[in-house]
């Protein structure tokens, strides 16, 4: 039987999901269920002078109304679970419902629970809140200025934390022949998972058990946090998140809404459901990015990079969301040098409170920002010294023979062949021909451009010891349990929590490949804390490198035991048995063999097991990686700019990625495509805008431009394969690479196209009017 590892079998999730047979949280229907709706602040900053809920309570069909005061003693403040050390971090209390003050448009003020969703929504309009509107601040740099309104009284300067990494690169700057300085704006993005957030809670007063179905990327983290927030012991709290319709980071956090629904279910003795609408999703689900970055790159005229200094001001929004402080610090600040050999580097990050929706991880989380800055800086540096952008990259990329390579920021890049990926991309792009074509078209008044992004990503989070050292309030290992049934079918239980990435398929491939059985014989179970062993969920492109590795280890434990039984059955010693294609065979004697299924059956019958071998066939593994994974690659984007209107057309997109061995090429390609689309979304269209009063101006799909399929050409993808040396599968993450690489590739391409206009940089998103102003000599 040919190995199923490496084959593009179709995703087994899809028939279920595309025929409406998925089980999303909002699909949960329970007898006697009530519906909650949450009243959200219309003001970015205000004091609550009073709330009158009497009319809402009397509205027919309303069962209960809760205010901040009602829930204060019963629901603990929503915690922050990533506390970077030595950062003087401030975590002002984040009440589940506002008590005295609201701090962003969308902040929860009251909850109505009613017999129907419609009644609950109508009753929100009957709640009277007396607000004293206060001055608001939305820009993170303005929030740091003296005299800016304080988002939290106890943090008068609005600085939530101040974090640093690396050492002072002053000597590099002294030696430099060239220093390039630039300020970058990473605009705020709205994750917009297709499925809005939702929670259903059911409490059994008899047993004290609480079940919460919730849109989560990490059910055990939800259990961990909700247990503390609600005071329900872990063993009485079950979290279920089976089908989750995308998260992109926005379903990592533990939100107040989920805790409130659970409280209501307990207090009212009936199940309660809450599902946000799209407007709430825009306002009350975490946002991404929103940082200002000052970069300084020191180098020599021959193209050598010497030192990098980065200062970031990160907009954290009104509260520190669950994983938020880790994003601009660890996930950005440790990888600002990118794939380059930059001997000295320093990162400094200010996390700042503003009267905006809290930010948290958004696909790539920190690493897109780091890649953007270094890739833009590389182009600016090349421009400054008059060198080709590819030459500068070649000169500074860490050579393959220097791995493992420890960077100036302390990470050890485990493996890589950066020049190899770039070379492949260069061949696909036909670089020299492109430059000639570009020259030719310019003489006709047409402007095409090519942009590069050579990136390295840190993912596969990660060694738990490092998690602890960087303040992550949890472990980052992963679990797997493999249960082989008497007939040879297998159920796999994983602590990873797929929500669109297709691990029900790839994980089955890993196991089927190891056991030599049909992939249909393997079922993958995830997302239910009552069924799966403790795990830390899916984010940071960790599910396959960490969860998949746990699975490989558990599967190998099964094989180890099966081999013992097979040897016993074949009446030879273990060393004389080899396993291939699902069969145990006496070495050199092909006629003497037993199938995997046969051995499995004997393990369960236990009529004649070798001495000291227990019956059954089940194994569990807890896998803690020794290092992160470092996928890398080279992306190139070709655009044409219509200088008359400023419109940008993407003509080509070439992506060469290295995620180690590819388990399922179709799924990997899907991840790459989706990632590129999201990365380009930031470059060209997306951007959340607040007005001075803190109102979200881009509050719907009518104004917030999501990328659409028709905006893109067909992508050209390819791979190089450099296995990760430290995990049993050699795999690295692929879920975020596209988003990380694409944004600077696109911007570099547009800047390249507009070089004849003297353009050195453009602020994202590159909306046509900005371009038009430049090409028509108006100030952008």
């Amino acid at each position: 039987m040919a190995s199923v590892f490496g084959t593009a079998i179709k995703r087994r999730e899809d028939p279920r999901l595309i025929t409406g047979n998925g089980r999303y949280t909002d699909d949960v229907q329970l007898p006697g269920m009530l519906y909650a709706a949450i009243l959200r602040s219309p003001h970015a900053h205000a004091r609550i002078r009073g709330i009158n809920v009497e009319k809402a309570k009397r509205h027919p069909g309303v069962v209960a109304v809760f205010t901040g005061r009602d829930v204060a003693g019963k629901v603990a403040p929503i915690p922050t679970a990533w506390l970077p050390p030595d950062s003087n971090i401030k975590t002002p209390a984040h009440p589940a419902l506002a008590v005295d003050s609201v701090r962003y448009v969308g902040d929860g003020v009251a909850m109505v629970v009613a017999e129907s969703r419609y009644v609950a929504r109508d009753a929100l309009e009957l709640i009277e809140v007396d607000y004293e509107v206060l001055p608001a601040v939305v820009d993170p740099e303005k929030a740091m200025e003296k005299g800016a309104p304080a988002v939290h009284e106890e943090v008068p300067d609005n600085v939530a934390f101040h974090w640093q990494a690396g050492s002072d690169p002053a000597s590099a700057f002294q030696d430099a022949e060239v220093v390039v300085r630039h300020r970058f704006r990473q605009q705020r993005l709205i994750p917009n998972a297709m499925e809005p957030r939702s929670a259903v809670a059911q409490y059994n007063a008899g047993s004290g058990e609480m079940t919460v179905w919730v849109t989560s990327q990490n059910p055990h983290i939800h259990r961990f946090l909700l247990s503390n927030i609600l005071g329900i012991p872990e063993h009485k709290l079950r979290i279920v998140a089976v089908d989750v319709g995308g998260g992109f980071g926005s379903k990592i956090p533990c939100y107040a809404d989920e805790a409130l629904v659970a409280l209501a279910a307990k207090e009212l003795g009936r199940p309660v459901k809450w599902t946000e609408d799209r407007r709430e999703n825009f306002l009350a689900t975490s946002h991404g990015r929103d940082e200002v970055i000052y970069a300084e790159l020191a180098g020599k005229r021959d193209g050598t990079m010497l030192g990098l200094r980065i200062r970031m001001v990160a907009n954290m929004g009104a509260y520190l969301s669950t994983a938020a402080p880790g994003v601009p610090t660890i996930l950005f600040g440790l990888i600002t040098v990118g794939p380059y050999r930059i001997p000295r580097a320093h990162t400094e990050v200010y996390g700042v409170f503003t009267n905006t929706t809290p930010t948290d991880a958004y696909r790539g989380a920190g690493r897109p920002e780091a890649t953007y800055v270094i890739e833009r800086m590389t182009d600016l540096f090349a421009r400054e010294i008059g060198m080709d952008v590819v030459e500068v990259r070649k000169k500074n990329l860490i050579p393959a023979e220097e791995f493992p390579y420890t960077t100036a920021l302390g990470l050890q890049y485990d493996s890589g062949n950066y020049h190899g990926a770039l070379q492949k991309a260069l061949e696909m792009v036909h670089y020299e021909e492109f430059r000639k074509e570009q020259e030719r078209l310019r003489t006709q008044g047409r402007y095409i451009g090519l942009g590069w992004s050579t990136y390295v990503e840190i993912c596969g989070l990660g060694p738990s010891q490092i998690a602890g050292a960087v303040g992550f309030q949890g472990g980052l290992w992963e679990s797997a349990a493999v249960r082989v049934h008497p007939g040879g079918k297998v159920t796999v239980f994983t602590g990873a929590s797929p929500h669109g990435q297709g691990e029900e398929t790839t994980f089955a491939q890993i196991v089927a490949d190891r056991f030599g059985i049909p992939v249909e014989d393997v079922e993958v179970v995830h997302g239910d804390t009552d069924r799966i062993p403790m795990g830390w969920g899916t984010y940071g492109s960790r599910a396959t490198p960490v969860g998949g590795s746990a699975l490989a280890v558990a599967a190998d434990r099964i094989l180890e035991k099966a081999r013992k039984i097979a040897a016993h059955m074949l009446e030879v010693s273990e060393e004389d048995v080899e396993f291939a294609d699902g069969k145990f065979q006496v070495k050199g004697v092909p006629t003497r063999q037993v199938t995997f299924q046969n051995v499995v059956l004997q393990a369960h019958l236990a009529w004649n097991l070798p001495a000291g071998v227990e019956p059954g066939l089940e194994a569990q593994a807890f896998y803690d990686p020794v290092n992160f994974c470092y996928p890398f690659g080279a992306h190139a984007c070709v655009v044409e700019v219509d200088v008359e209107t400023g419109q940008i057309k993407v003509l080509r997109y070439v992506a060469v990625d290295d995620c180690g061995p590819v388990i399922n090429p179709m799924i990997v390609e899907g991840q790459v495509h989706g990632g590129i689309v999201q990365g380009m979304g930031q470059a060209l269209w997306e951007g959340a805008v607040y007005d001075e009063q803190g109102q979200l101006v881009t509050g719907s799909f009518m104004d917030y431009a999501m990328p659409k399929a028709r905006f893109f050409p067909s992508f050209e993808t390819a791979h190089t394969v450099t296995p990760a040396p430290h995990n049993p599968l050699g795999v690295k993450g692929i879920g975020e690479t596209g988003t990380i690489a694409a944004t600077p590739a696109v911007v570099n391409a547009v800047v390249d196209a507009l070089a004849p206009f003297g353009v050195a940089d453009l602020e994202m998103p590159l909306t046509p009017e900005k371009i038009w102003k430049i090409t028509h000599g108006r100030d952008a």
């Binding site: 969703r117 407007r279 659409k708």
Partner: protein, 285 residues
């Protein structure tokens, strides 16, 4: 997104729809494809107490050539217009505009009557309707009447329709003689609506002189408009690229321009000229 509660009525005929609307005294709204009305309901920007669904009224559907005009029933969807052999043969620019409305779902649900009645200043069809001097047939309590589109669209989301009136059809006159037309659109990347949309028609005589020129512009401000300055600069002149180029520069001489987050007033003025030129170039016979 949950609308406030409303009652639902389904009319079997235009007459019944008018009577239902009348009996609810301005509290009722017509529901066609729902692609403009339902978003407004969900955002609670409007809360009629009754919706009168006209979706089942057969007489409001279909496209027919009647003499020198194409009559499009109010309930005809954008997708039907775009695919209609009749429209493609007689008025290809109308098919072109319909094909560019929103996305597939919107084209499959949204209707011509609803589009005109809603009078969104960024809708596509009004530009074509203006360029072709379309006439809207309206049925109200006092019977049927025909209203030229220029008298029908009065402002942003504002029309000559009374509270109990129903749009029955839109008649698009087919230009005579030798002519060509085109619709050029700059879609908003978020909504798909026109940031600028220009419908153009150029008719020439046997000598190649422009005898008829019509330009309808949408998306750039509060209201779609006829660019009569542009038309005047074309008529009587030879149908050449140079003439078009010069005429298109007058696209912003009329119309009320406005800006938003995506495109400023200045930029929209510029776009009106560029898209007018592009539409006219493709309309040169």
């Amino acid at each position: 997104m949950i609308p406030a509660s409303f009652a639902y009525e389904r009319a079997q005929s235009v007459r019944e729809a008018v009577e239902l609307l009348e009996s609810h005294q301005g509290e009722a709204k017509v529901l066609s494809g729902g692609h403009s009305l339902i978003p407004l309901l969900k955002l609670r920007l409007t809360s009629p107490t009754v919706l009168v669904d006209i979706g089942g009224i057969a007489e409001l559907k279909g496209i027919s050539a009647e003499g020198d005009r194409l009559v499009v029933g109010a309930l005809t969807t954008h997708a039907e217009v775009a695919a209609s052999p009749e429209v493609r043969r007689h008025l290809p620019l109308l098919a072109e505009a319909a094909r560019q409305v929103g996305d597939l779902q919107v084209r499959n649900r949204g209707t011509v009557g609803g589009n005109i009645a809603h009078a969104d200043p960024a809708s596509d069809l009004p530009a074509v309707a203006l360029a072709l001097d379309a006439v809207i047939t309206v049925e109200g309590p006092a019977g049927r009447s025909e209203v030229p589109v220029e008298d029908f669209i009065l402002g942003p989301l504002l029309t000559a329709l009374g509270g109990s009136d129903v749009v029955v059809s839109v008649a698009f006159p087919i230009p005579k003689g030798k002519w060509k037309g085109a619709y050029e659109k700059y879609p908003h990347p978020a909504s798909g609506y026109a940031v600028a949309g220009v419908a153009a028609v150029i008719g020439v005589d046997d000598g190649g002189t422009i005898r008829d020129a019509r330009v309808g512009i949408t998306g750039v401000g509060d209201m779609p408009y006829r660019a009569r300055d542009v038309e005047a600069a074309l008529v009587g002149n030879p149908a050449t690229e140079e003439v078009v180029r010069r005429a298109a520069e007058r696209a912003d001489a009329e119309g009320s321009f406005s800006g938003d987050l995506f495109a400023s007033e200045d930029y929209r003025r510029h776009l009106s000229k560029v898209y007018t030129r592009r539409a006219l170039m493709r309309s040169l016979p």
